[in-house]
Protein backbone atom coordinates (compact mmCIF):
# COMPACT_ATOMS: atom_id res chain seq x y z
CA UNK A 1 0.00 0.00 0.00
CA UNK A 2 1.01 3.63 -0.52
CA UNK A 3 1.98 5.66 2.51
CA UNK A 4 2.51 9.41 2.49
CA UNK A 5 4.68 10.53 5.36
CA UNK A 6 6.80 13.40 6.45
CA UNK A 7 9.96 12.08 8.06
CA UNK A 8 12.29 14.63 9.59
CA UNK A 9 10.76 17.37 7.47
CA UNK A 10 10.84 15.52 4.14
CA UNK A 11 7.52 14.38 2.68
CA UNK A 12 7.54 11.34 0.46
CA UNK A 13 5.25 8.55 -0.65
CA UNK A 14 6.45 5.08 0.30
CA UNK A 15 5.34 1.57 -0.45
CA UNK A 16 4.70 -0.43 2.70
CA UNK A 17 3.02 -3.71 3.64
CA UNK A 18 0.01 -3.19 5.94
CA UNK A 19 1.40 -5.27 8.80
CA UNK A 20 4.81 -3.58 9.12
CA UNK A 21 5.56 -1.75 12.33
CA UNK A 22 6.72 1.84 12.18
CA UNK A 23 10.02 0.79 13.75
CA UNK A 24 10.78 -1.79 11.06
CA UNK A 25 9.63 0.59 8.36
CA UNK A 26 11.86 3.44 9.56
CA UNK A 27 14.89 1.18 9.88
CA UNK A 28 14.25 -0.24 6.41
CA UNK A 29 14.38 3.35 5.11
CA UNK A 30 17.77 3.96 6.71
CA UNK A 31 16.63 5.69 9.89
CA UNK A 32 18.65 3.67 12.37
CA UNK A 33 18.19 6.05 15.32
CA UNK A 34 15.16 4.17 16.58
CA UNK A 35 16.40 0.85 17.99
CA UNK A 36 14.71 -2.43 18.62
CA UNK A 37 14.97 -3.34 22.30
CA UNK A 38 12.06 -5.23 23.78
CA UNK A 39 9.66 -5.00 20.84
CA UNK A 40 6.98 -4.76 23.44
CA UNK A 41 6.56 -1.12 24.47
CA UNK A 42 8.60 -1.47 27.63
CA UNK A 43 12.07 -0.04 26.95
CA UNK A 44 11.64 3.10 24.82
CA UNK A 45 14.66 2.33 22.58
CA UNK A 46 12.38 2.64 19.54
CA UNK A 47 10.89 5.96 20.54
CA UNK A 48 10.11 8.57 17.91
CA UNK A 49 7.78 11.56 17.82
CA UNK A 50 4.59 11.00 15.84
CA UNK A 51 2.81 14.29 15.16
CA UNK A 52 4.88 15.78 17.98
CA UNK A 53 4.09 13.12 20.56
CA UNK A 54 6.46 10.46 21.85
CA UNK A 55 5.39 6.95 20.88
CA UNK A 56 7.02 3.54 20.92
CA UNK A 57 7.39 2.82 17.23
CA UNK A 58 7.57 -0.95 17.82
CA UNK A 59 3.90 -0.89 18.77
CA UNK A 60 2.51 1.26 15.97
CA UNK A 61 1.84 0.13 12.43
CA UNK A 62 3.43 2.30 9.75
CA UNK A 63 0.14 2.35 7.82
CA UNK A 64 -1.56 4.10 10.73
CA UNK A 65 0.76 7.11 10.31
CA UNK A 66 -0.55 7.98 6.82
CA UNK A 67 -0.34 11.75 6.29
CA UNK A 68 1.46 12.26 9.58
CA UNK A 69 4.84 13.63 10.54
CA UNK A 70 7.63 11.75 12.21
CA UNK A 71 10.71 12.95 13.99
CA UNK A 72 13.59 10.56 14.61
CA UNK A 73 16.85 11.47 16.28
CA UNK A 74 18.38 11.98 12.81
CA UNK A 75 16.00 14.90 12.28
CA UNK A 76 16.74 16.65 15.54
CA UNK A 77 20.29 17.64 14.77
CA UNK A 78 23.35 16.40 12.94
CA UNK A 79 27.02 16.02 13.90
CA UNK A 80 27.78 19.52 12.61
CA UNK A 81 24.80 21.13 14.17
CA UNK A 82 23.66 19.34 17.28
CA UNK A 83 20.43 20.23 18.99
CA UNK A 84 20.97 21.64 22.52
CA UNK A 85 19.51 18.45 24.02
CA UNK A 86 22.10 16.41 22.14
CA UNK A 87 24.85 18.83 23.15
CA UNK A 88 23.81 18.60 26.78
CA UNK A 89 23.85 14.78 26.71
CA UNK A 90 27.39 14.94 25.31
CA UNK A 91 28.58 17.56 27.76
CA UNK A 92 27.43 15.76 30.89
CA UNK A 93 28.39 12.34 29.47
CA UNK A 94 24.87 10.98 29.75
CA UNK A 95 25.51 8.02 27.46
CA UNK A 96 27.71 4.97 27.52
CA UNK A 97 26.70 2.36 24.95
CA UNK A 98 24.16 4.80 23.51
CA UNK A 99 21.47 2.27 22.71
CA UNK A 100 18.84 4.06 24.78
CA UNK A 101 20.07 7.57 23.96
CA UNK A 102 17.96 8.44 20.89
CA UNK A 103 14.83 7.56 22.84
CA UNK A 104 15.94 9.49 25.91
CA UNK A 105 16.81 12.55 23.87
CA UNK A 106 13.49 12.54 22.05
CA UNK A 107 11.59 12.17 25.33
CA UNK A 108 13.57 15.09 26.72
CA UNK A 109 12.97 17.16 23.59
CA UNK A 110 9.20 16.51 23.70
CA UNK A 111 9.14 17.51 27.36
CA UNK A 112 11.10 20.72 26.84
CA UNK A 113 8.89 21.72 23.92
CA UNK A 114 5.84 21.78 26.16
CA UNK A 115 7.52 22.60 29.45
CA UNK A 116 10.75 24.62 29.05
CA UNK A 117 11.47 24.71 32.80
CA UNK A 118 10.60 21.29 34.15
CA UNK A 119 11.03 20.22 37.76
CA UNK A 120 13.25 17.22 38.37
CA UNK A 121 10.18 15.09 39.10
CA UNK A 122 8.69 16.11 35.74
CA UNK A 123 11.91 15.17 33.97
CA UNK A 124 11.93 11.79 35.68
CA UNK A 125 8.31 11.25 34.74
CA UNK A 126 9.02 12.14 31.09
CA UNK A 127 11.99 9.75 30.93
CA UNK A 128 10.20 6.96 32.77
CA UNK A 129 9.59 4.98 29.59
CA UNK A 130 13.26 4.95 28.54
CA UNK A 131 15.26 2.20 30.16
CA UNK A 132 19.00 2.62 30.34
CA UNK A 133 21.04 -0.36 31.38
CA UNK A 134 24.49 1.20 31.59
CA UNK A 135 24.45 4.90 32.42
CA UNK A 136 21.49 4.94 34.76
CA UNK A 137 19.35 8.02 35.17
CA UNK A 138 21.35 10.55 37.19
CA UNK A 139 23.29 11.81 34.18
CA UNK A 140 20.36 11.86 31.74
CA UNK A 141 18.32 13.90 34.25
CA UNK A 142 21.26 16.27 34.65
CA UNK A 143 21.53 16.51 30.86
CA UNK A 144 17.88 17.52 30.53
CA UNK A 145 18.34 20.20 33.18
CA UNK A 146 21.35 21.49 31.30
CA UNK A 147 19.49 21.36 27.99
CA UNK A 148 16.69 23.43 29.50
CA UNK A 149 19.20 26.11 30.51
CA UNK A 150 20.91 26.02 27.12
CA UNK A 151 17.62 26.33 25.27
CA UNK A 152 16.57 29.22 27.49
CA UNK A 153 19.86 31.02 26.84
CA UNK A 154 19.54 30.45 23.10
CA UNK A 155 15.99 31.78 23.11
CA UNK A 156 17.13 34.87 25.05
CA UNK A 157 20.10 35.57 22.76
CA UNK A 158 17.87 35.04 19.70
CA UNK A 159 15.41 37.59 21.09
CA UNK A 160 18.26 40.04 21.78
CA UNK A 161 19.62 39.62 18.25
CA UNK A 162 16.15 40.19 16.84
CA UNK A 163 15.65 43.37 18.85
CA UNK A 164 19.09 44.71 17.87
CA UNK A 165 18.51 43.75 14.25
Amino acid sequence: MKLKLQINGITKTYEVAPHVTLLNFLRSQGYHGPKSGCGNGDCGACEILLNGKPVNSCLVLAAHCEGGSILTIEGLGNPDNLHPVQEAFLEVAAAQCGYCTPGLILSAYALLMENPEPEESEIREALAGNLCRCTGYVKPVEAVQKAAQMMKKKAVSRKETESIG
Binding site: M1, A17, P18, H19, T21, G41, D42, G44, E47, L50, K53, P54, V55, N56, L59, V60, L61, A63, H64, E66, G103, S107, A110, E125, A126, A128, G129, N130
Partner: protein
Protein backbone atom coordinates in the same frame (compact mmCIF):
# COMPACT_ATOMS: atom_id res chain seq x y z
CA UNK B 1 4.68 -11.76 11.96
CA UNK B 2 1.15 -10.63 11.15
CA UNK B 3 1.59 -11.43 7.49
CA UNK B 4 -2.05 -12.54 7.54
CA UNK B 5 -2.92 -8.84 7.36
CA UNK B 6 -3.56 -7.97 3.73
CA UNK B 7 -5.43 -4.72 3.87
CA UNK B 8 -5.43 -1.49 5.84
CA UNK B 9 -8.40 0.82 5.44
CA UNK B 10 -9.45 4.17 6.85
CA UNK B 11 -13.27 3.94 6.80
CA UNK B 12 -14.98 7.31 6.34
CA UNK B 13 -17.65 6.71 8.97
CA UNK B 14 -18.31 4.43 11.90
CA UNK B 15 -21.20 2.93 9.96
CA UNK B 16 -18.88 2.10 7.05
CA UNK B 17 -16.44 0.46 9.45
CA UNK B 18 -19.22 -1.59 11.01
CA UNK B 19 -20.56 -2.68 7.60
CA UNK B 20 -17.09 -3.84 6.64
CA UNK B 21 -16.62 -5.67 9.94
CA UNK B 22 -19.57 -7.90 9.14
CA UNK B 23 -18.72 -8.60 5.51
CA UNK B 24 -16.39 -11.53 5.90
CA UNK B 25 -15.90 -14.29 8.45
CA UNK B 26 -16.10 -13.16 12.11
CA UNK B 27 -12.86 -11.49 13.11
CA UNK B 28 -11.49 -11.15 9.58
CA UNK B 29 -11.96 -7.36 9.56
CA UNK B 30 -11.36 -5.70 12.91
CA UNK B 31 -11.43 -2.14 14.20
CA UNK B 32 -7.92 -0.86 14.81
CA UNK B 33 -6.64 2.32 16.43
CA UNK B 34 -2.97 2.21 15.46
CA UNK B 35 -1.26 0.22 18.18
CA UNK B 36 -0.72 -3.51 18.11
CA UNK B 37 -0.05 -3.71 21.84
CA UNK B 38 -3.32 -4.88 23.37
CA UNK B 39 -5.10 -6.19 20.28
CA UNK B 40 -2.31 -8.39 18.96
CA UNK B 41 -4.20 -11.66 19.56
CA UNK B 42 -7.16 -10.37 17.53
CA UNK B 43 -4.80 -9.24 14.77
CA UNK B 44 -3.39 -12.72 14.33
CA UNK B 45 -6.82 -13.81 13.03
CA UNK B 46 -7.55 -10.76 10.90
CA UNK B 47 -7.06 -9.98 7.23
CA UNK B 48 -8.21 -6.37 7.23
CA UNK B 49 -7.56 -3.61 9.70
CA UNK B 50 -10.15 -0.84 9.84
CA UNK B 51 -8.41 2.22 11.23
CA UNK B 52 -11.03 4.08 13.27
CA UNK B 53 -8.62 6.58 14.80
CA UNK B 54 -9.83 9.46 12.59
CA UNK B 55 -13.56 9.16 13.15
CA UNK B 56 -13.85 11.76 15.88
CA UNK B 57 -13.91 9.31 18.77
CA UNK B 58 -10.99 11.08 20.41
CA UNK B 59 -12.86 13.75 22.36
CA UNK B 60 -13.58 14.24 26.03
CA UNK B 61 -16.73 16.33 26.43
CA UNK B 62 -19.35 17.30 28.94
CA UNK B 63 -23.02 17.55 27.94
CA UNK B 64 -25.22 18.62 30.81
CA UNK B 65 -24.19 16.53 33.77
CA UNK B 66 -22.73 13.75 31.65
CA UNK B 67 -19.09 13.28 30.78
CA UNK B 68 -18.23 11.43 27.58
CA UNK B 69 -14.84 9.88 26.89
CA UNK B 70 -14.47 8.79 23.25
CA UNK B 71 -13.27 5.26 22.61
CA UNK B 72 -10.02 6.31 20.98
CA UNK B 73 -9.08 8.94 23.58
CA UNK B 74 -5.60 7.99 24.74
CA UNK B 75 -4.63 7.39 28.35
CA UNK B 76 -2.31 10.39 28.03
CA UNK B 77 -5.23 12.60 26.93
CA UNK B 78 -7.16 11.39 29.98
CA UNK B 79 -4.16 12.15 32.16
CA UNK B 80 -3.97 15.70 30.80
CA UNK B 81 -7.70 16.47 30.67
CA UNK B 82 -8.71 19.48 32.76
CA UNK B 83 -12.34 18.44 32.45
CA UNK B 84 -11.58 15.13 34.14
CA UNK B 85 -9.20 16.75 36.60
CA UNK B 86 -12.19 18.69 37.82
CA UNK B 87 -14.06 15.52 38.70
CA UNK B 88 -13.57 13.51 41.94
CA UNK B 89 -10.37 15.33 42.84
CA UNK B 90 -8.63 14.13 39.69
CA UNK B 91 -9.08 10.41 40.39
CA UNK B 92 -9.58 9.54 36.69
CA UNK B 93 -6.41 11.26 35.36
CA UNK B 94 -4.49 9.79 38.28
CA UNK B 95 -5.65 6.29 37.36
CA UNK B 96 -4.73 6.82 33.69
CA UNK B 97 -1.30 8.19 34.56
CA UNK B 98 -0.34 5.09 36.50
CA UNK B 99 -0.05 3.06 33.33
CA UNK B 100 3.43 2.77 31.82
CA UNK B 101 5.14 5.67 30.08
CA UNK B 102 4.12 8.61 27.92
CA UNK B 103 5.16 6.72 24.78
CA UNK B 104 2.77 3.95 25.65
CA UNK B 105 -0.03 6.07 27.09
CA UNK B 106 -0.10 8.06 23.84
CA UNK B 107 -1.12 4.92 21.95
CA UNK B 108 -3.29 3.14 24.50
CA UNK B 109 -7.00 3.81 24.72
CA UNK B 110 -10.21 2.42 26.16
CA UNK B 111 -11.31 0.96 22.83
CA UNK B 112 -8.33 -1.38 22.65
CA UNK B 113 -8.48 -2.08 26.37
CA UNK B 114 -12.07 -3.22 26.14
CA UNK B 115 -12.13 -5.15 22.89
CA UNK B 116 -9.02 -7.03 23.94
CA UNK B 117 -10.50 -7.95 27.32
CA UNK B 118 -7.62 -6.28 29.16
CA UNK B 119 -9.08 -5.99 32.64
CA UNK B 120 -6.11 -4.98 34.74
CA UNK B 121 -5.96 -1.18 34.37
CA UNK B 122 -6.73 0.95 37.42
CA UNK B 123 -8.61 3.27 35.09
CA UNK B 124 -11.29 0.59 34.74
CA UNK B 125 -11.65 0.29 38.51
CA UNK B 126 -12.29 4.02 38.66
CA UNK B 127 -14.72 4.00 35.75
CA UNK B 128 -16.64 1.17 37.40
CA UNK B 129 -16.98 3.06 40.68
CA UNK B 130 -18.36 5.97 38.62
CA UNK B 131 -21.08 3.65 37.23
CA UNK B 132 -19.87 4.34 33.71
CA UNK B 133 -21.74 3.11 30.69
CA UNK B 134 -20.14 1.85 27.53
CA UNK B 135 -21.56 2.64 24.10
CA UNK B 136 -20.92 -0.16 21.63
CA UNK B 137 -21.54 -0.19 17.91
CA UNK B 138 -21.65 -3.54 16.19
CA UNK B 139 -24.44 -5.42 14.48
CA UNK B 140 -26.64 -3.54 16.92
CA UNK B 141 -25.92 -0.53 19.08
CA UNK B 142 -25.75 -1.33 22.76
CA UNK B 143 -25.32 0.80 25.85
CA UNK B 144 -24.53 -1.12 29.00
CA UNK B 145 -22.91 -0.66 32.34
CA UNK B 146 -19.18 -1.00 32.03
CA UNK B 147 -19.11 -3.46 34.90
CA UNK B 148 -21.47 -5.78 33.03
CA UNK B 149 -19.52 -5.36 29.78
CA UNK B 150 -16.30 -6.25 31.56
CA UNK B 151 -17.92 -9.36 32.98
CA UNK B 152 -19.39 -10.54 29.69
CA UNK B 153 -16.71 -9.25 27.30
CA UNK B 154 -16.86 -6.75 24.47
CA UNK B 155 -16.58 -7.60 20.78
CA UNK B 156 -17.61 -11.25 21.20
CA UNK B 157 -14.00 -12.36 21.39
CA UNK B 158 -13.33 -11.46 17.74
CA UNK B 159 -13.35 -7.66 17.97
CA UNK B 160 -16.62 -7.16 16.11
CA UNK B 161 -17.77 -4.09 18.01
CA UNK B 162 -16.52 -0.53 18.15
CA UNK B 163 -16.32 1.19 21.52
CA UNK B 164 -17.75 4.59 20.65
CA UNK B 165 -17.46 6.06 24.11
CA UNK B 166 -17.76 5.70 27.84
CA UNK B 167 -20.03 8.02 29.72
CA UNK B 168 -20.88 8.73 33.31
CA UNK B 169 -22.80 11.26 35.32
CA UNK B 170 -20.40 13.76 36.84
CA UNK B 171 -20.73 13.17 40.57
CA UNK B 172 -22.57 15.99 42.26
CA UNK B 173 -22.84 16.80 45.89
CA UNK B 174 -20.02 16.23 48.26
CA UNK B 175 -18.63 12.93 47.19
CA UNK B 176 -15.16 12.22 48.51
CA UNK B 177 -13.13 9.68 46.65
CA UNK B 178 -9.99 7.65 46.90
CA UNK B 179 -8.02 5.25 44.73
CA UNK B 180 -5.73 2.91 46.62
CA UNK B 181 -3.46 0.36 45.01
CA UNK B 182 -0.66 -2.00 45.68
CA UNK B 183 2.10 -2.48 43.12
CA UNK B 184 5.80 -3.29 43.19
CA UNK B 185 6.71 0.12 41.75
CA UNK B 186 4.51 3.17 41.26
CA UNK B 187 4.55 2.71 37.50
CA UNK B 188 3.85 -1.03 37.63
CA UNK B 189 0.51 -2.60 36.95
CA UNK B 190 -1.43 -2.92 40.15
CA UNK B 191 -1.57 -6.15 42.06
CA UNK B 192 -4.92 -4.88 43.27
CA UNK B 193 -6.73 -1.54 43.20
CA UNK B 194 -9.67 -0.27 45.21
CA UNK B 195 -11.71 2.82 44.36
CA UNK B 196 -14.16 4.30 46.84
CA UNK B 197 -16.68 7.13 46.63
CA UNK B 198 -18.13 8.21 49.93
CA UNK B 199 -20.73 10.61 51.28
CA UNK B 200 -20.79 11.06 55.00
CA UNK B 201 -18.48 11.42 57.92
CA UNK B 202 -16.96 9.31 60.67
CA UNK B 203 -20.27 9.21 62.56
CA UNK B 204 -22.38 8.16 59.64
CA UNK B 205 -21.74 6.79 56.18
CA UNK B 206 -24.67 8.01 54.16
CA UNK B 207 -23.65 6.47 50.84
CA UNK B 208 -20.66 4.51 49.61
CA UNK B 209 -19.56 2.93 46.36
CA UNK B 210 -16.75 0.38 46.28
CA UNK B 211 -15.04 -1.00 43.18
CA UNK B 212 -12.13 -3.40 43.12
CA UNK B 213 -10.09 -4.26 40.08
CA UNK B 214 -6.70 -5.03 38.54
CA UNK B 215 -6.02 -8.33 40.31
CA UNK B 216 -9.44 -9.88 40.06
CA UNK B 217 -11.19 -11.50 37.11
CA UNK B 218 -12.92 -8.24 36.19
CA UNK B 219 -13.35 -4.92 38.01
CA UNK B 220 -16.53 -5.11 40.09
CA UNK B 221 -18.71 -3.31 42.58
CA UNK B 222 -19.53 -4.87 45.93
CA UNK B 223 -23.16 -4.00 46.68
CA UNK B 224 -23.44 -6.21 49.78
CA UNK B 225 -20.49 -4.48 51.41
CA UNK B 226 -21.84 -1.08 50.35
CA UNK B 227 -25.20 -1.98 51.96
CA UNK B 228 -23.45 -3.15 55.09
CA UNK B 229 -21.62 0.16 55.46
CA UNK B 230 -24.49 2.52 54.57
CA UNK B 231 -25.93 4.20 57.65
CA UNK B 232 -23.16 2.95 59.94
CA UNK B 233 -20.50 4.88 61.82
CA UNK B 234 -17.14 4.34 60.15
CA UNK B 235 -15.37 2.99 63.22
CA UNK B 236 -12.46 0.59 63.16
CA UNK B 237 -14.59 -2.46 64.00
CA UNK B 238 -17.06 -1.65 61.21
CA UNK B 239 -14.28 -1.15 58.68
CA UNK B 240 -12.64 -4.41 59.74
CA UNK B 241 -15.92 -6.25 59.20
CA UNK B 242 -16.37 -4.57 55.79
CA UNK B 243 -12.82 -5.60 54.90
CA UNK B 244 -13.48 -9.17 55.81
CA UNK B 245 -16.72 -9.16 53.76
CA UNK B 246 -14.89 -7.78 50.74
CA UNK B 247 -12.07 -10.32 51.11
CA UNK B 248 -14.59 -13.12 51.00
CA UNK B 249 -16.53 -11.64 48.11
CA UNK B 250 -13.72 -11.02 45.60
CA UNK B 251 -12.52 -13.55 43.05
CA UNK B 252 -8.82 -12.74 43.00
CA UNK B 253 -6.33 -13.93 40.42
CA UNK B 254 -3.48 -16.16 41.44
CA UNK B 255 -0.63 -15.23 39.11
CA UNK B 256 3.03 -14.27 38.90
CA UNK B 257 2.42 -10.90 40.51
CA UNK B 258 0.63 -12.14 43.63
CA UNK B 259 -1.22 -15.06 45.13
CA UNK B 260 -4.99 -15.02 45.53
CA UNK B 261 -4.51 -15.19 49.29
CA UNK B 262 -2.39 -12.03 49.28
CA UNK B 263 -4.94 -10.21 47.16
CA UNK B 264 -7.76 -11.17 49.55
CA UNK B 265 -5.77 -9.72 52.44
CA UNK B 266 -4.94 -6.57 50.48
CA UNK B 267 -8.57 -6.01 49.49
CA UNK B 268 -9.42 -5.48 53.16
CA UNK B 269 -6.37 -3.31 53.79
CA UNK B 270 -6.94 -1.10 50.75
CA UNK B 271 -10.64 -0.69 51.44
CA UNK B 272 -9.89 0.56 54.94
CA UNK B 273 -7.19 2.89 53.60
CA UNK B 274 -9.54 4.25 50.92
CA UNK B 275 -12.31 4.98 53.41
CA UNK B 276 -9.85 6.63 55.80
CA UNK B 277 -8.48 8.70 52.92
CA UNK B 278 -12.00 9.88 52.00
CA UNK B 279 -12.68 10.82 55.64
CA UNK B 280 -9.42 12.73 55.80
CA UNK B 281 -10.62 14.83 52.88
CA UNK B 282 -13.42 16.19 55.06
CA UNK B 283 -16.98 15.85 56.07
CA UNK B 284 -19.17 15.23 53.02
CA UNK B 285 -22.59 15.19 54.58
CA UNK B 286 -23.65 18.65 53.57
Amino acid sequence: MLENIRDYIFPKTIEAAVRRMYQGAPGSSIPFTGSIDLVYPLMTQAETLLDISRLGLDQITQKGHKIHIGGTVSFQQIKESSLLQDCLEGMIPKAASIYASRGQRNITNLHDTLISGTNYFDLLTVLVVLESKIHLHGKTRRILFLEKALKNGVGHGVGDEIVRELSFIKPRGRWKSSLQRVAVLDSDLSILSVAVMLKGNRKNCSEIRIAIGSGITHPSRFPDVEKYLAGKPLKTAVLKEAGSLVSQAIEPLDDLRASDEYRREMAAVLLEKAVEDCLKKGDSTR
